[in-house]
């Protein structure tokens, strides 16, 4: 492996699309390392009985950093679901803020610990996720984008969803409307071939979700979600299209879910040993690491430093989050309606 500093050796053989530099790639990799370390910690906290439930982003990291890099967090909007841990970090959420969600502690930024981790609304970025009900964010994202179109704002809305969500009626209705009205939305599917235990072939008779784009008069593309550059390019093209008035797109990033659905699940019940073995080849971390090393962007020292600093950050964040109390009980009564609680007026 070459030990050359960033941006000198081997630079020519990695053709980066506009907007993507070696620095950005390295930064993305740093976030992926952090995400992985944090993800492992969260799983451990669950096993220790400290975190009630967790869905892991392991396997989805490259797809998520690529997606965020292709957008502009200062003006774009993100409707996520429960698996976008890496995207959250890319958008500047701190590890402590993340752990507070899983530990349901006071000061939780998204929902005041009223909701599961990754649900609520972000105070600094226009990122939100109202519910755990799979697929509901798709029409909502279309509405968000419609408002921007009506107001002539140049924001683009990214609607994350999984292969499971693609079966919902809401997915059809959302894409159809987006196609009719050319709203600036990117339907971003992280297809990991499973809705909990239901494999793709029991979810749909066709092999790809992107192939449905045709039915909605929008472009659809299927990309290897462990290939950060290809993913970036696909999302960027969709974002640019939306921003320039070209309307909606569907981008399907093929990934593997490296862990069971959540900490409540046991995927050996429904995944074969070969399937579990094969999925490991799709781990985006080693893939990314090899790619960066091959092109001389990453060296041993930097890699070690990323991993070490990720570990430290996660340790510190754990200490910080665990030191916090649960939210005061009385906080639960506020904010049902602007006018008050919303029960009968005499109560």
């Amino acid at each position: 492996m070459s030990q050359s500093p960033i941006g000198t050796a081997a630079e020519t053989d990695l053709r980066l699309p506009p907007g993507l530099s070696q620095e950005r790639l390295l930064d993305a990799y740093r976030t992926m390392c952090l995400s992985r370390a944090l993800d492992i910690r969260i799983w451990t906290l669950n096993r220790q009985g400290k975190a009630a439930i967790a869905a892991s982003a392991q396997g989805h990291e490259a797809a998520q950093v690529a997606t965020v890099m292709a957008t502009d967090p200062t003006r774009d909007r993100y409707l996520i679901y429960y698996r976008q841990l890496t995207a959250m970090l890319m958008l500047g959420t701190t590890p402590t803020e993340m752990l507070i969600q899983f530990l349901a502690r006071d000061g939780e930024i998204l929902s005041g610990a009223r909701q599961f981790p990754l649900h609520g609304a972000h105070p600094r970025v226009d990122l939100f996720s109202f519910s755990n009900v799979v697929g509901t964010q798709l029409p909502q994202a279309v509405g968000v984008a419609l408002a921007d179109k009506m107001k002539g704002r140049d924001a683009v809305t990214i609607s994350f969803f999984g292969d499971g969500a693609a079966s919902q009626g809401d997915c059809h209705e959302a894409m159809n409307f987006a196609g009719i009205h050319k709203v600036p939305v990117v339907f971003l599917c992280e297809n990991n071939r499973y809705a909990i235990s239901v494999p793709l072939e029991q979810q749909m008779p066709v092999g790809s979700i992107a192939s449905r784009a045709f039915a909605y008069g929008i472009p659809g593309v299927e990309v290897d979600g462990t290939d950060i550059v290809a993913s970036y390019e696909a999302v960027k093209e969709a974002v640019d299209r939306a921003r320039s008035g070209g309307g909606a797109s569907l981008v399907e990033l093929r990934v593997e879910r490296l862990l069971p659905h959540t900490t409540d699940d046991d995927h050996t019940r429904y995944r074969s040993e070969e399937d579990i073995e094969r999925m490991r080849d799709m781990d985006p971390l080693p893939i990314m690491e090899q790619m960066l090393r091959r092109h001389g962007i990453l060296d041993d020292a930097t890699d070690a430093e990323f991993k070490e600093s990720a570990r430290r950050a996660v340790d510190d964040a754990t200490d910080e989050a665990e030191a916090l109390p649960f939210p005061p009980v009385g906080d639960m009564y506020s904010g049902v309606l602007e006018s008050g609680m919303g029960g009968n007026s005499h109560a």
Binding site: G112, T136, M150, K151, D170, F177, N344, H346
Partner: protein, 328 residues
């Protein structure tokens, strides 16, 4: 003060609000050139354009879901569900999502949207154009549910709903659209959400009702006043969530007798809640059981005209109920 029908009150309020605030837009099936199937938006697309008076595909879940997305992003959508009977596909976006946006984001996002829902029977609508669908909404924390019965209230409450910062289900009784006329000033007045209104004063018995049944109840009150000298106080709930327990309890404390009149079937309904409020907090004021006049427990409501008529609580049936209650 101009006299107008209830549908005119709705239309004029929508028009003046649309003129006042460019963030308001309407969406729904056939609301464009058709003007809505009840003509609530007649002439609107010509005045406000296709963006603000948007014909949608036949897909209620997305009508509400998209409105919700727009609402959290700075707009004030006023989606229309063409008939209440077709709100079921949208329940997930309305009860599951919109109702919890404020609470579930700890106030980080809000969903100022007013979902207009023409509902109710007595229009030869059969099983699927007659339903009262208020129960689930009235049960759901995070929603406001309004059901005006007069043009005056329709104007003041629709305006209040559109300007409020929470998701509101606005129920318009189809039978009242053209049946009910009344005075409704062109002024910019608001009626308070969550406040019932005493539509007739009386000392012998309290009738609590809403929607079309307000008018049947008022008729019944006149009937028993004339025939038996019984004076019924008639409380128009107007808002079904939150319910104005205070006004109800205050009236019952004066009359000692309560009867709830409702078009929706009775089991687990708004009428149950009003009964429960009185049974819990007005118990010592009561001189008689809390009565309810509601339709039979069958799917609302048969298409056949005689059966439809039998289904609806009529002024006569209500009057009979009042007499019975008065005698206890």
């Amino acid at each position: 003060m101009p006299e107008m029908t209830l549908i005119e009150a709705v239309r004029e309020t929508l028009r003046s609000e649309m003129r006042r605030d460019p963030d308001i837009f309407m969406m729904g099936e056939d609301i464009g050139p058709r003007g809505g199937v009840f003509l609530a938006s007649e002439g609107f697309v010509e005045e406000f354009g296709e963006d603000r008076v948007m014909n949608t595909p036949l897909a209620e879940s997305s009508i509400i879901g998209i409105a919700l997305g727009a609402a959290v992003n700075g707009m004030r959508p006023v989606p229309e569900i063409q008939f209440a009977d077709f709100v079921w596909p949208a329940i997930n976006q309305l009860v599951g999502e919109a109702a919890r946006v404020r609470y579930g984001t700890n106030g980080g996002k809000t969903a100022p949207m007013t979902v207009r829902v023409p509902y109710g029977g007595g229009v030869r609508g059969g099983l699927y154009h007659s339903q009262s669908i208020e129960v689930l909404f009235a049960h759901t924390p995070g929603l406001q549910v309004i059901a005006p019965a007069t043009p005056y209230d329709a104007r003041g409450l629709l305006r209040a709903a559109i300007r409020s910062n929470d998701p509101t289900v606005f129920l318009e009784h189809k039978r009242t659209y053209r049946l009910v006329r009344g005075e409704a000033p062109d002024e910019d007045y608001l009626e308070p959400i969550g406040k019932a209104d005493i539509k007739r004063a009386g000392s012998d018995v309290t009738l609590i009702t809403y929607g079309l049944m307000l008018h049947h109840s008022l008729q019944a009150a006149e009937m028993v006043s004339q025939s038996d000298g019984i004076e019924a106080e008639v409380v128009d709930l107007r808002t079904l969530r939150p319910i104005d327990g205070e006004t109800i309890l205050d009236s019952v404390s004066r009359t000692g007798r309560a009867m709830i009149v409702q078009e929706d079937t009775g089991a687990v309904s708004v009428s149950s809640e009003v009964s429960a409020i009185i049974a819990a907090e007005g118990f010592f004021d009561l001189d008689a059981p809390v009565m309810r006049v509601t339709p039979p427990e069958i799917p609302p409501m048969p298409f056949s005209p005689l059966q439809e008529a039998e289904f609806m609580p009529s002024p006569e049936k209500i009057a009979a109920g009042i007499r019975q209650l008065d005698e206890i």
